[in-house]
């Protein structure tokens, strides 16, 4: 089959995207774990290490630009490369969410509050699980799986609503803790946004496979950086 070079380079690129994805997965799970432990040193390290995710994203972006310039991809190849540019941006932003959670840990220090750790871990676990399978659907170009994963966003939204109401009640009961619990609210918010971005990745996967751009997430298009 002709175009062995392009095909090989695209495979390498997809490996790098999976690597970037696993960096984000790891950062997210660690961020929530570090918050539970209030491990300030680990939080500072995770905060710094977001730079590695940013660097990886730019390295992949550069590789894609070189491929577009040198290989003149068309049709499916072009859709794949254009979609991958979007997907690595989503991943990089998810990395920022993990960094934002680390920042919350650093700001809370040892404040005496009850963080709903188990619920936050459940959210993180669900969002990371969606991301992991979303990236598999992306490299396998499976639009059906991608659509199914996007539908699971509702689970994360439900968890978020549950945490939100719990935190609001806690703040009303004890207004002196509003600052701290507001920080915790950001953690839940970041995890909720992460799942939204997985949905975006799934949309791109459908686009690569079919050429059709479907808007899957219509419930929450709010943009905020969460850092």
């Amino acid at each position: 089959m002709p175009r062995d070079t392009l095909t090989r380079q695209i495979h390498h690129l997809l490996d790098e995207v999976l690597l970037l994805g696993s960096m984000v997965e790891q950062a997210t799970l660690s961020a929530v774990d570090i918050l539970r432990q209030r491990d300030l040193k680990a939080a500072a390290t995770l905060y710094e290490n977001d730079q590695l995710i940013n660097d990886k994203r730019f390295a992949i972006e550069n590789a894609i630009l070189i491929l577009i310039a040198t290989q003149q991809p068309m049709a499916h190849d072009l859709r794949l490369l254009a979609a991958t540019l979007e997907i690595i941006t989503e991943l990089e932003r998810m990395g920022d969410y993990a960094k934002g959670i680390a920042k919350v840990t650093l700001q809370l220090k040892d404040a005496d509050i009850n963080i709903p750790n188990r619920d936050l871990e459940r959210m993180a676990s669900q969002a990371v699980n969606m991301l992991h399978r979303g990236l598999s659907a992306f490299v396998n170009e499976d639009p059906n799986e991608a659509s199914a994963i996007a539908g699971e966003d509702a689970v994360v939204d439900d968890l978020y609503n549950h945490i939100y109401h719990h935190l609001v009640e806690t703040m009303i009961a004890n207004p002196a803790t509003i600052d701290q619990y507001n920080q915790v609210m950001w953690v839940a918010h970041n995890l909720e946004r992460m799942a939204d971005r997985v949905t975006n990745i799934c949309e791109r996967t459908v686009f690569i496979a079919t050429g059709d751009m479907l808007e899957m997430d219509t419930t929450d298009d709010e943009e905020s950086d969460g850092e």
């Binding site: 089959m1 002709p2 175009r3 392009l6 068309m74 049709a75 499916h76 072009l78 859709r79 050429g211």
Partner: protein, 261 residues
């Protein structure tokens, strides 16, 4: 297959066109409507019949003794192969530019004037020469040397002269058969820019092996391939932007992504 084009804007239409060389069917069942004032690219692998179809559009295949057609080619609704139609008149209305620039071994001026003169042009010849050289974006480069031999021009200039020569007989359609394959990249881009300017007044059909050229320079693209019986056929026809980003047929996809065969 049929095409999804604006019926009212069709200038020339192939209906169930099959083209034979003797008993060999080189092209089969092509239905292709060319839109007025658009640039239509025909792409496809060697042997898919794209040049054969292009030459059928102005009866150049008449010069090949064994060539004959089934189906019809309608120009403004008139069958150009009908017995009462004069092929010379067809070629005046539908001009052709070839792969290798082929100016006459005469002066630049005469290359333009000659065709017009034998077509009975009675107007101001100097004006015609200037206007067509202007239209072909060559005037500024040659206006002080109109008596110079056309063969002394560069390849790109020669090709623009050939385009000017085609324009001088006031065609409606310009057929281009790999017009840039003998040119360097800069000369190629000049021709592509020129095609864009010309499409305001003329309808252009270009056969090209260069997919980037088709993607850059055309409005519509028709993809041809060779069937198992070795006859060329049209697989897909649509907006160039669609063909190169979201082709509908797997054969088109394989060809334009370079994974053909």
């Amino acid at each position: 297959m049929t095409t999804q084009t604006n019926e009212n804007n069709i200038i020339i239409q192939a209906n169930d066109l099959s083209i034979y060389y003797g008993s060999f069917r080189a092209v089969k069942n092509v239905n292709l409507g060319i839109q007025r004032n658009k640039i239509t690219a025909i792409i496809g692998p060697s042997g898919c019949g794209k040049s054969t179809v292009l030459r059928a559009f102005n009866r150049m295949n008449d010069f090949v003794q064994s060539a004959h057609n089934d189906g019809k080619i309608l120009f403004h609704g008139q069958d150009i192969y009908a017995p009462e139609v004069d092929p010379v008149q067809v070629r005046q209305m539908i001009g052709m530019v070839f792969q290798k620039p082929n100016p006459f071994p005469k002066s630049i001026y005469e290359n333009i004037a000659w065709g017009a003169r034998i077509n009975g042009y009675k107007g101001n010849m100097d004006e015609l020469v200037e206007n067509t050289l202007q239209a072909a974006a060559l005037w500024d480069e040659v206006k002080d040397n109109l008596k110079k031999s056309a063969l002394a021009l560069s390849g790109g200039q020669q090709q623009r002269l050939c385009i000017a020569r085609a324009l001088a007989v006031k065609p409606e359609i310009i057929l281009m058969d790999e017009p840039c394959s003998a040119l360097d990249p800069i000369a190629t881009l000049k021709i592509e820019d020129l095609m864009r300017e010309l499409s305001v007044k003329y309808s252009i059909i270009i056969v090209t092996h260069n997919m980037q050229q088709a993607a850059r320079a055309s409005d519509l693209t028709a993809f041809f391939t060779m069937d198992e019986d070795r006859a060329g056929l049209m697989v897909e026809y649509g907006e160039t932007s669609q063909i190169f980003t979201r082709p509908k047929d797997k054969r088109t996809e394989d060809y334009i992504t370079g994974r053909f065969g």
